[in-house]
């Protein structure tokens, strides 16, 4: 049984069909990439899967259970983690604080429990700070620091700096660190290397390869096709809200429909992607 299964997903915005009947499945431990020109509907697909937007039609299942239209906070408790294309760090929180928020859904002190009493209990625990809560917090801090350490000199020396003071690339790293803190069962990355230079991209690629090797299931949106080709077990190509090709990276990159889709969108500004595709196809 696939970990994530999407079937017949549709989302329309007025006249635009951003996602028009997408099927997708991701097996446990695999890395599937979604590529496609700008405006293809990739981010909208992510939003539909992660509950930030609700589909007009179709179904999303996770680990066999129907999660269509679930609120994002509920999905976090199922350990579905995502990063955002345009970067959404908590600007006034420190790097460490950001990563700790990533682990929020794992906190025993913050379990939802009963509607009103659960919340009051959470307040009481935060006020009293019994030993169990303090120990949990300390363990989490250690874990968060270990995650930050994976980003080496990029983040470790900056762990106490507020996120707004970081460079763009570092904010993206913080987002990924935050997602890892959830110890996700499924990680969705929306263009993790957008705005990064070559060295930084290579670093990110190495990190994602490492995550994959550790057994993490990943759904990746990426325009840099070299990276997609070398990381993915499967590539899904979208255009105009529809899947136009899917399969092994080698097969997809020679697919005429894919090349056509990228070339057809030259004026839309998928320039970088197009160039990468051409390079990858050589």
């Amino acid at each position: 049984m696939p970990l994530l299964e999407v079937s017949g997903l549709v989302r329309r915005f007025g006249g635009v069909t951003a996602v028009g009947g997408v099927d997708l499945s991701v097996e446990e431990g695999r890395l599937v990439s979604v590529i496609g020109p700008n405006g293809a509907g990739k981010t909208t697909l992510f939003n539909l899967i992660t509950g930030l937007d609700r589909p007009d039609e179709g179904k999303v299942s996770f680990d066999g259970a129907d999660i269509t239209g679930f609120a994002p906070e509920k999905l976090a408790h199922l350990r579905l983690a995502r990063t955002f294309q345009h970067g959404r760090v908590f600007a006034n929180l420190s790097v460490l604080g950001n990563v700790l928020v990533g682990a929020h859904a794992r906190l025993r002190a913050a379990r939802p429990r009963l509607p009103v009493l659960g919340a009051l209990g959470e307040l009481a625990l935060a006020l009293i700070q019994p030993g169990s809560v303090r120990r949990e917090e300390a363990a989490l801090r250690a874990e968060a620091l270990a995650i930050i350490a994976r980003f080496g000199e990029r983040l470790l020396p900056r762990q106490d700096q507020p996120a707004y003071s970081l460079s763009y690339a570092n904010r993206r790293r913080v987002e990924i660190a935050r997602a890892l803190a959830l110890s996700p069962r499924l990680l969705l990355l929306d263009e993790p290397t957008a705005g990064m230079n070559q060295t930084e991209t290579a670093e990110m690629q190495a990190l994602i390869a490492e995550l994959k090797a550790s057994g993490l299931t990943i759904l990746l949106i990426e325009h840099k096709l070299d990276m997609v080709m070398s990381l993915s077990d499967e590539v899904v190509v979208m255009d105009d809200g529809k899947v136009i090709a899917r399969g092994l990276p080698q097969a997809v990159r020679h697919d005429p429909a894919v090349i056509e889709a990228y070339l057809g969108h030259r004026e839309v500004g998928g320039g970088a992607a197009e160039k990468a595709l051409a390079e990858a196809a050589e």
Binding site: F13, N47, A91, N92, G97, H104, E122
Partner: protein, 607 residues
């Protein structure tokens, strides 16, 4: 049946007046995505310009109308140029706060120049009315309808057929795109403020003539009515604003016919909250849309907080604690006691507005709930005073959270509007629920504070009592801020979408903040009621909410120590320098404006 026609005509006429306000608000929102809280002040200034023209210059009606329109337009230009333009590129909340500050300053200036007393504003029109069906229409009704209609036609023509009007529409659609196409966006802003203010001023003139009554306090109500009409029609939607205004006028008119005048505003505010919750984009909004992507972290000024080590805080507390042994004048101690009570309100609001980013303008309602709870428990049920103050905290926490609940699903400026309306609803409920609250008379003879039978009446004892409460609650709040709750709250403020994606249920954490903040504010209100021994529905008014916000911004958003220092400065200094009451509010408004412009992170920084 006859009277129904009268109520309908009356509703439409009043709706027409609201439309002049709401259309201006919609225009401004359209081009600058700002809800202009200073709009009611322009309306008041318009009314007073009219009064000066009629009563002193004896101008004929057309000249009066022209003077009012021109004077108000000029005021709009000044507001835009000196109040808002300098804030371009600052945090999203800054212009909103600035318009609040501007409205404070303008209202206060009007009050100082013309005194707070109401005045008559005769309409200069013949006093005939003619009969239609069962109702009557007077000359003034026709004038109002004519001005409303003419303005709408002129505005439509301007937007539709002139180059500048096209620029306004282009800017409203997409500001950046318009700028790239060579539209002078600043000029569009100026024009829009001028037109909107001219309409707002005219509205003030017409209301003054309609009721033959003006006073400086009309400003706040006018802003609220305009905002209600605008929200009903969908913010930024000009035809929507007109329809929304007429609906509001009719709802009020029929409501008054059914239940009486004192309920008038209640309808407006309940309509507002219902619309905000059920149809936040207005009655005529199109399909559901995703919230626009925020530029993360721009809502609140980012800054490094000034580090305040615990020993320093303890030292400050120790100094505060020994002060009564050094200071002999009870007057100074009373002032500081007052400051501690405001600081309780401040730490409450700094949590909700600063830490969680829900800029509440109804915070005085929490004080009112606390004050009435403690007062009525002691007087009506014989509960001992200490216990009643504790109960005040719990009731304000519980009831405050329930009342704020509809605002939890809103974001940004809408939270501010909704909390403002909810605050007004509380105050109107207190006024009208006579069997419980004693209505407009207020509650007399509230017993002084005592604890376990020991009276706490000397200036010193009261000082220590309030200081101790403040110290305990501030320490608890700091403890919460250091826990995972503090993290979750700040995450909600910085980016609620990302926060949800990591498992933070917004309702739950907003509710926890309101419970925590409501408790502190309720205690403050409770203690205050026993110190004053008399409270009524005006004791905890909307001005207090704005003062609290100024305290919070002065100290730094979310900054507990900052809120305490802010309140000592804002309450203490005017007292020490014996500033007269009417200038005090002016100072608060100016402080707010200067802070937003020059030090948005406050004295101690955002936490």
């Amino acid at each position: 049946m006859t009277s129904w026609l009268d109520h309908t005509i009356n509703g439409l006429i009043v709706g027409n007046i609201y439309a002049l306000l709401a259309v201006g608000l919609a225009l401004i929102f359209g081009v600058s995505r700002l809800i202009n809280f200073a709009h009611g002040s322009v309306y008041v200034v318009g009314a007073y310009i009219g009064w000066v023209a009629v009563a002193h210059l004896h101008t004929p009606l057309p000249v009066t109308i022209l003077l009012v329109a021109a004077g108000s337009a000029l005021l709009g230009l000044l507001i835009e140029r000196f109040g808002l333009r300098p804030l371009q590129g600052s945090t999203k909340i800054a212009p909103l706060l600035a318009t609040i500050g501007i409205s404070f300053v303008l209202d206060q200036i009007v009050q100082i120049v013309f005194t707070p007393d109401p005045r008559a504003l005769p309409s200069q029109l013949p006093d005939w009315r003619f009969q239609i069906g069962g109702g009557t229409i007077g000359a003034l009704d026709i004038l109002i309808a004519a001005i409303g209609f003419t303005s709408a036609v002129l505005l439509f023509g301007f937007l539709r057929f002139t180059k500048l009007g096209w620029a306004v529409r282009a800017t409203a659609q997409d500001r950046d795109a318009a700028r790239q196409m060579g539209v002078d966006v600043d000029q569009v802003n100026r024009i829009v403020f001028a037109i909107a203010s001219a309409l707002g001023g005219l509205s003030g003139l017409l209301v003054g003539m309609y009721y033959n009554y003006i006073d400086p306090a009309m400003s706040f109500q006018a802003t609220l009515k305009g905002v209600v009409a605008e929200v009903v029609g969908g913010v930024g939607n000009i035809p929507g604003a007109i329809v929304g205004s007429l609906i509001l006028g009719l709802v009020e008119s029929y409501g008054i016919a059914l239940l009486g005048t004192s309920y008038r505003n209640l309808f407006a505010f309940i309509l507002l909250v219902v619309i905000l919750v059920l149809r936040p984009n207005g009655l005529f909004a199109s399909k559901r849309q995703l919230p626009p992507e925020p530029l993360t972290g721009t809502f609140i000024a980012p800054s490094k907080p000034v580090p305040l080590p615990t020993p320093a805080l303890l030292a400050a507390l120790a100094v505060a604690a020994v002060l009564p042994l050094v200071i002999a004048q009870p007057y100074l101690l009373q002032t500081l006691t007052n400051a501690w009570l405001y600081a309780l309100l401040g730490i409450s609001l700094t949590l909700i507005a600063g830490t969680v980013g829900q800029i509440s303008l109804g915070h005085a309602a929490l004080l009112a709930i606390g004050g009435y709870t403690s007062a009525l428990l002691t007087l009506d049920l014989g509960v001992p005073v200490g216990l009643s103050i504790l109960a005040a905290g719990f009731v304000a926490a519980g009831l405050g959270t329930l009342l704020a609940w509809p605002a939890f699903r809103l974001r940004g400026h809408y939270v501010t509007i909704a909390t403002l309306a909810i605050g007004e609803i509380v105050s109107l409920a207190i006024l009208n629920w006579e069997s419980l609250t004693r209505g407009p008379i207020g509650v007399f003879g509230i017993p002084p504070i005592s604890l376990f039978g020991y009276p706490i009446e000397s200036a010193r004892a009261v000082y220590w009592f309030t200081l101790a409460i403040l110290a305990v609650l501030a320490a608890l709040q700091l403890r919460l801020l250091r826990s995972h709750l503090g993290r979750a709250w700040r995450a909600v403020r910085d980016d609620d979408v990302a926060a949800r994606s990591y498992g933070i249920a917004l309702d739950r954490y907003k509710a926890l903040a309101f419970i925590t903040g409501g408790f502190a504010a309720g205690i403050s209100g409770g203690v205050t009621s026993h110190l004053y021994s008399f409270i009524n529905h005006e004791t905890f008014n909307a001005q207090l909410s704005i003062l609290a916000l100024t305290i919070v911004i002065l100290g730094g958003m979310g900054n507990v120590f900052g809120a305490i220092v802010g309140s000592v400065l804002l309450i203490g200094l005017p007292e020490v320098f014996r500033v007269a009451a009417e200038y005090r509010v002016l100072i608060y408004g100016l402080v707010l404006l200067l802070l937003i412009r020059f030090r948005p992170q406050g004295l101690f920084g955002t936490v």
